[in-house]
Symmetry: C2
Subunit: 783 residues, 2 copies
Amino acid sequence: MDYSIGKDKYENWILGDQDFSAFHLGKTETVMLLGNGYMGLRSAAEEPYLNEKRNLFINGTFNKADQNEVTELPNVADATRLDILIDGERFSLEFGETGDYSKQLNLKDAELTRSFVWTSPQGKKLQFHFSRFVSLAHPHLIGMKMEIQSLSGAVEVSIESGLSAQVTNSGVQHFLEGDRKISEGRFIQLVQTTTQSGIDFVHNTVHTLKLNDEEITAEADKYMERRKVWMSYKCKVEQGDRFDLEKLTTVHTSRDKERDHEQYSLAEMQKQSMGELKDFDKEGFERLRDSHRLAWQENVWNAYEFEVESENPDDQLAIRFSLYHLTAMAPAHDDRMGIGAKALSGEAYKGHSFWDTEIFILPFFIYSNPDTARSLLQYRYHGMAGARQKAEQFGYAGAMFPWEMAWPTDGEVTPEWGDIDIVTGERTKIWSGLIEHHLSADIAFAVYQYVNVTGDEEFLELCGYEMVFDTARFWSSRFEWNEEEQRFEITDVIGPDEYKEHVSNNTFTNYLAYFNLMLAMRYAEKLAKENPALWKSLVGEGDHANWQSKAEQLFLPEPRSEDLVLPQDDTYLELPEIKLDKYKTQTKARTIYRDYNPEQINGIQVTKQADIVLLFFLMEQTFLKDDPRFSRKAKKENFIYYEARTLHDSSLSLSTHAIAASQIGEQELAYSLFRKTCEIDMGPNMHSSDDGIHAAAIAGIWKAAVFGFAGVRQADGSLQINPRMPKEWRHMRFSIFWQGELLQLDITEKRLKIRSDSQREIQFETNGVVYTFEDSIEVQLKH
Amino acid sequence: MDYSIGKDKYENWILGDQDFSAFHLGKTETVMLLGNGYMGLRSAAEEPYLNEKRNLFINGTFNKADQNEVTELPNVADATRLDILIDGERFSLEFGETGDYSKQLNLKDAELTRSFVWTSPQGKKLQFHFSRFVSLAHPHLIGMKMEIQSLSGAVEVSIESGLSAQVTNSGVQHFLEGDRKISEGRFIQLVQTTTQSGIDFVHNTVHTLKLNDEEITAEADKYMERRKVWMSYKCKVEQGDRFDLEKLTTVHTSRDKERDHEQYSLAEMQKQSMGELKDFDKEGFERLRDSHRLAWQENVWNAYEFEVESENPDDQLAIRFSLYHLTAMAPAHDDRMGIGAKALSGEAYKGHSFWDTEIFILPFFIYSNPDTARSLLQYRYHGMAGARQKAEQFGYAGAMFPWEMAWPTDGEVTPEWGDIDIVTGERTKIWSGLIEHHLSADIAFAVYQYVNVTGDEEFLELCGYEMVFDTARFWSSRFEWNEEEQRFEITDVIGPDEYKEHVSNNTFTNYLAYFNLMLAMRYAEKLAKENPALWKSLVGEGDHANWQSKAEQLFLPEPRSEDLVLPQDDTYLELPEIKLDKYKTQTKARTIYRDYNPEQINGIQVTKQADIVLLFFLMEQTFLKDDPRFSRKAKKENFIYYEARTLHDSSLSLSTHAIAASQIGEQELAYSLFRKTCEIDMGPNMHSSDDGIHAAAIAGIWKAAVFGFAGVRQADGSLQINPRMPKEWRHMRFSIFWQGELLQLDITEKRLKIRSDSQREIQFETNGVVYTFEDSIEVQLKH
């Protein structure tokens, strides 16, 4: 992988790979993913390779393949594969000679290209150029183009191309077979229906062949096979001629919001979508690509304009990479959908939403695209029934959100079993769905953060209050009374540090639960004043007193007096320590599992990911920010203690530590952790992204820059901006929304400039001083 | 493909391929299939290739993937794939240089081997040798061995190997995921259950690593993924060392006959089968292979001893090839199972049994292995309920056998839709399941042939009578009265010639139905005498009279007076003719469909496969043999007429024409048709067998030799032997069972010798003369 190879107007816009290797297909398939929130298409090469993962996922189309499994996003019918023969020889970069190879994702145009000169084993020499986009202008559209020029005399090019629904999720088939047909000799349609959720899919595709830009009719055969329909084209290409194949494909489903009504008809969808494809066919590849490029420029780059001047040009690229994928993954069009841990880029985690969304991804949208942030929170609100059901099932009250969430009505979808245990040889049980409980408080925190930043009271009334009250009710019922200690405790949980299963009083969980109860009380008081009718319908008689007494009596672990270190849980600080250097420098995930099994890891003072450090980061944004346990000094001590024991064996971890390092003045470490965050997906490890991008880490790039280097933060509703740029950065410029107003921030080492188009007075705090301005302000920074 | 390359004791025993091509993987995967009746394993290479079809089918384990589909044999978890790295380079014959390549199926030992010298792109040079067998001694066992020697200094060999259930049938998944585990660090078990039929599968596998024949413990990692569990081994191989990997795999299912009881327990099967694998592991690859070889020698080659001395050594090989596959495909162990059109060698036809079994395959077993023949007929008997149900569903009486049959209780399993129509672009409807009716009479014929050859009266009483009576009842109800012609007719059917859909009075169908009714009457008379009680329970009051009046009034098409040609159906002889040369010389199936659609083909005087010619062959074996319509002269005229119009566009066709050509003295043509029969699978067309072997054509090799060249035939219960060997054959020797006695036939151009070990008097007819003998006889042949 090479970066920053774009020139001129594409400088720092290009993700490039100049070195094809069949061993590393997963890397560019994933990081060069094309997507538009509606769908995500892995960038597998057109010509097939043995270990490719050729995936197309449509957001929200969850299906449960069988009773023993959980719902997941199915891999849908493929249109990208082209089987190409050159004078009877199979075209593959694994054979022959390849020169001038370049595979690029142009972030600016959201366009994938590949070009190279290929010489076949028999000596036929050709120039290939491929391009592909998933339209941001037309959410159902995929455009592809292949250009071939023969450099060594006439050749016969033969291409098989169509639609294949023989794809699976690692062998799991989610679809019943439906109609397949070819009309007017070139318009292909393939229909599928998911086996359990009954979602209809209509896939359409059409080819256009050109010789030297003139449309031609080539020799074409039509084929149909099980779950597959395709054309076989043959065309003679003379030396110097350019042969183009353009392919336009659309996907529509009965889950599309506009079809969520009683009059829905599959036949109508088949007809409409085919009509749409015929219109696209008339418009043609080039114009469709133009409208796609324009949509990216307007909706993304102009909207988020984020510039970084750094000694390392990869930093600017990384920021763009982050914004690119955050756009590609976000179902801005549909509040019944969330963001999966791997977004729409791989089978791993099945498209499920975790706490990754609220704690790691949502902040970007809250500050940059509040409509999408609200949509994502509404997704959780649509899942309230499932959350209440889960609570009831476990004998609790209120709403206990599913650890993994798919379609809102699917409820808890955490799988029961995970990887093999190297000691017993048996599969390990996945406990998160049963005992990782902090998510419900994380969601309450997200509601609070969203409302504080946006001032969106409407959301609070429609959804937010209910979410906070019902999670508070859950916690009240969840606490266990410890008679001996005369306090409530939370035993047998998993905290953010998932190395530790079945711990008690995980400090993160206890404090977040406490925050959740306190927030419920505050919101109840606010609501009683502002909307007594709603207050009456949402808050029960004894709720407030119950929340108060539970909160007051909840055990909140105290720091060790000698060094202010907060224990991660009841036993952590007493556990033996081992040398962790070997695992600290790991390039692969889970390397510690090669030496220790889960039970053994449970008994060592080692942390998978930000836990206490994350707690500090969250608490300083709340009404608990002035609690002495979260003082500046404590923050530093805890960072030092836990950073030494944290393997960052989760992609969620690094950005939080980067922010913390930045805050405590460890700028060099902060920058190094920022770079590591960027390199989770963009780095030299050619296998780290095989199973999909790390959505939370990609948002972490933005977070480390904005929360870390720019020091932007809401703290219990007030805006703080405490820039601490790394020495590598000369200048950063980006915008955020604050209370509905767009603020353009411009930061150098020396000064902070803010511009606003609003007429409202904006207040913020920098280095302990509160500033107020209307149009713009410049603040000198002292360090 | 090369043949007859074996030397010494393996002369004419070896099927060999000396020229690897990734374009032709299907050929050797299929024709070199390993099987033992319990399972069939396609001979895909250990290292994976893009277009491989890596299939393992277990007989009888039908499952219906969804409501829109029919039951089919699922492709089960794979153990054969090995992912091999040599110093980090992927081993594949598509890269680097391959020398001395040889892939061989040794028919005698039923063992697959591959050997070659491979030089990696980086210049590492190694000698590889693979061997593999599917044990005939232990029906659940697959044995594999890989030997590697480094020819260019030390290399690190890395191998991933285990069990993968990520396989599908062209994307269709038939299994729910079950337990997976590794015990004692090396015994792998994977459990699966079919989605609809609920059949449990237990797959076990274990590896043994050796260096220069010494067992070693290599560096091993264990992995588990969705539907997959495997080991990763690493081993340093010094120059001159030989590294061996042996892999023993077993498959057991809850469909296994010994588990078909109420106490069946999956846990018990898991335990027992793992115990068995541990015993196999102690015994070791070599001894297991020895017992497998011995089983083939004793049960197959000694039993069927069939020798041919021909100018063309491929003829002997072809006969062995036929016996080999007939053994591999036959579920001799279980009368609840049949033989699929592609046996256990491919997904095509879904493992379903067609009339191929009774008319083309069964004769081999009737004459060579009567127990298996009986088992196959009992399979049809177990399907009687489904046949009665199908009759009822169509408004008929008696038993109307499903055109395609899977598990006996599955009923009709013919799919509804076939390939795309090149004119309309839509899928074509498959009519066979609805209107191809002759199968019920074909089965009656098979019962009759079996009983006449074996004298197995027990079978007749237990199953045969009922099958014949109930099919006769079906025909009685099927006939339609034509008031104008004052006769019964059979309209709107498909006969053996499937080019012609919706024809009326298909002559084959009408005569076979007539035969069926006449046979029922004969059997009823016989039974009334021999077992009045059974007669009373099986034959209804008006049955006999009904059968008789229906038979008497059925329209039996008459030959044209001018040339004795029997019309194939009501309209055939009036249809226009086209030049067929182009399609007569076709090397691919269905080439006529590239120019004509089904409707058009329906209107041309062209026949897909033996229809009238087959009718002659069947009728001469019955009590209708002396009917003047089937005279010797008529046979010849009809052969000449229809051979000119038959494209042999079904693999069922050639052997019947070969037999007919032989009989009418066209020895040269007969031999050429015999060779074409052999070449359907063994021939130079590298794609003809991609989807699986042609089971009926493989039996056709035996039939053309025994019924054609040796002229063996039962004719209404008497044995005829009228040898007409082609000039290429000097000598043929084989044995048949006649009335339970083993007869060894030894034939040259000049004389026929028969030996029998029995004390019974054997009677047969040769060239119109009846001979009788006890121990042995020699008859001089005149031509």
